[in-house]
């Protein structure tokens, strides 16, 4: 079933439909909130609970004419903006990838694992060095799998702006990860 049809079922009290929606989006949303909320796991868990609670209490807020994924990330983005306003301070406590945000690699070679670990650390560091508007676009595109059009709809910006920010972030990462080109070329 599509996400949109599941939402219609949830509005009618179908528990299985809600379980399916939760299974599909709880993990990606937790990762999104962790990235956006300074890797605060507890706060990210609370935000995941709040967004799904909103789906339970007011499923009619979702407009069936829209794509559910886009709508969901729009709501999540608005929640993060509200949190920023509350905090007014952006914490940067990232020292690399969070343990729960693992990057899997099927290569069991020890040297390769070390190389990959270093690459991941540098990648994350470079991504965090970018300002939020560029890193957010890059993460939404490559880590959450959203299209340029969907990102534009979530962030309420134009497609051209999304492309511009995306390519800027890409160029920056390419230059900072130049030393790891052999890894990128695998």
């Amino acid at each position: 079933m599509t996400d949109e049809s599941l939402m219609v079922a949830i509005s009618k009290g179908d528990k299985r439909a809600f379980d399916e929606i939760y299974n599909r989006y709880s993990g990606p949303l937790l990762g999104y909130f962790m990235r956006m909320l300074w890797r605060d796991r507890e706060k990210a868990e609370d935000f995941v609970h709040d967004i799904f609670a909103k789906i339970i209490r007011k499923p009619e807020l979702f407009d069936p004419s829209r794509t559910f994924k886009t709508w969901l990330y729009s709501v999540a983005n608005n929640m993060c903006k509200n949190e920023y306003k509350k905090q007014e301070v952006r914490k940067n406590t990232s020292n690399g990838l969070d343990e729960s945000y693992a990057v899997t690699d099927h290569n069991t070679n020890v040297l390769s694992e070390v190389f990959d670990s270093q690459f991941r650390d540098q990648f994350e560091k470079s991504l965090n060095d970018l300002d939020t508007k560029h890193s957010e676009v890059f993460r939404l595109r490559h880590l959450d799998g959203l299209s340029i059009k969907e990102i534009a709809e979530i962030l309420k910006i134009s497609d051209g702006t999304v492309k511009s920010r995306l390519f800027y972030a890409t160029k920056y990462l390419a230059s900072s990860l130049e030393a790891f080109n052999p890894v990128l070329n695998r």
């Binding site: 009290g13 528990k15 809600f18 939760y22 709880s26 993990g27 990606p28 937790l30 990762g31 962790m34 796991r41 868990e45 995941v48 609970h49 799904f52 609670a53 339970i56 209490r57 969070d98 729960s100 945000y101 693992a102 990057v103 899997t104 690699d105 991941r120 990648f123 595109r141 490559h142 880590l143 799998g145 959203l146 299209s147 340029i148 059009k149 969907e150 492309k163 511009s164 995306l166 390519f167 890409t170 160029k171 990462l173 390419a174 230059s175 990860l177 080109n181 890894v183 990128l184 070329n185 695998r186």
Partner: protein, 235 residues
């Protein structure tokens, strides 16, 4: 997800780009080297599997409680479970059990008239067999008994009618009473002998069949010329 410019970069070499694609990328990369750099970053990031973290089980439990409180379950009604089985919503109408049961019941009802007609048909051979038994017994009781086992029923019935007519053509001859006895009429003319013979046979048959139902014995006309004359005179 629909393909966008990023997917194009990851899939195509610089020289394979169309004019419109190059025009679109013009503002982002000015040379083939920049294009290849970006392509490497995109491919490298896409090549890594980013596993999303999983929320705690407590989060799901809290949400389940909230869902149950928001959408309380109605008390199950016995017929709702039955309806769920016989009329499942996820199946087309012709595959629902209730529709199939109704179709079978309709077919059975349509065959009921055929059941009754078969019973009526089956009764006739019984009646014919009973008539044959009567013929046999009548033949056995007469002096010139001739097996009537093989005699067609229609022929036997015709002879019965003929014999009745014979009795009516001789008004002096009383009609057979329910008791089956027929008094002998006074012999007159050439038909007297045949009549007497008929009466004797009828009397013999009546003895065997007190209810008056009897069938005349069939005999070849060559052996009974008087009977033949009588029959031909009648018709």
């Amino acid at each position: 997800m629909k393909k966008d410019l990023i997917d194009t970069i990851m899939e195509k070499d610089y020289h394979a780009l169309t004019a419109s694609e190059r025009e679109e990328l013009k503002s982002f990369c000015n040379s083939e080297d920049e294009y290849n750099q970006m392509k490497e970053v995109f491919i490298g990031v896409e090549g890594m599997s980013w596993e999303h973290p999983k929320p705690k089980a407590e989060t799901k439990q809290r949400l389940d409680e909230l869902f149950d409180n928001t959408y309380p379950k109605a008390a199950p009604v016995w017929y709702s479970s039955v309806l769920t089985v016989v009329v499942p919503k996820d199946k087309p109408v012709h595959r629902q059990p209730l529709a199939q049961i109704a179709a079978i019941a309709l077919l059975v009802l349509l065959t009921v008239p055929f059941w009754n007609s078969e019973v009526q048909i089956n009764d006739k051979p019984v009646q014919m067999a009973q008539a044959d038994v009567v013929d046999q017994e009548a033949a056995a009781s007469s002096e010139t008994a001739v097996p009537v086992k093989d005699k067609p029923v229609a022929e036997a019935e015709n002879e019965t009618a003929v014999n009745v007519r014979v009795a009516e053509d001789f008004p002096a001859t009383p009609q057979p009473e329910p008791g089956g006895r027929v008094a002998s009429a006074s012999a007159a003319g050439s038909g007297a002998i045949a009549e007497n013979r008929f009466n004797s046979l009828a009397e013999a048959a009546a003895d065997e069949h007190p209810d008056g139902v009897f069938v005349a014995v069939s005999q070849p006309a060559s052996e009974e010329p008087e009977m033949l004359d009588l029959l031909t005179a009648t018709f």
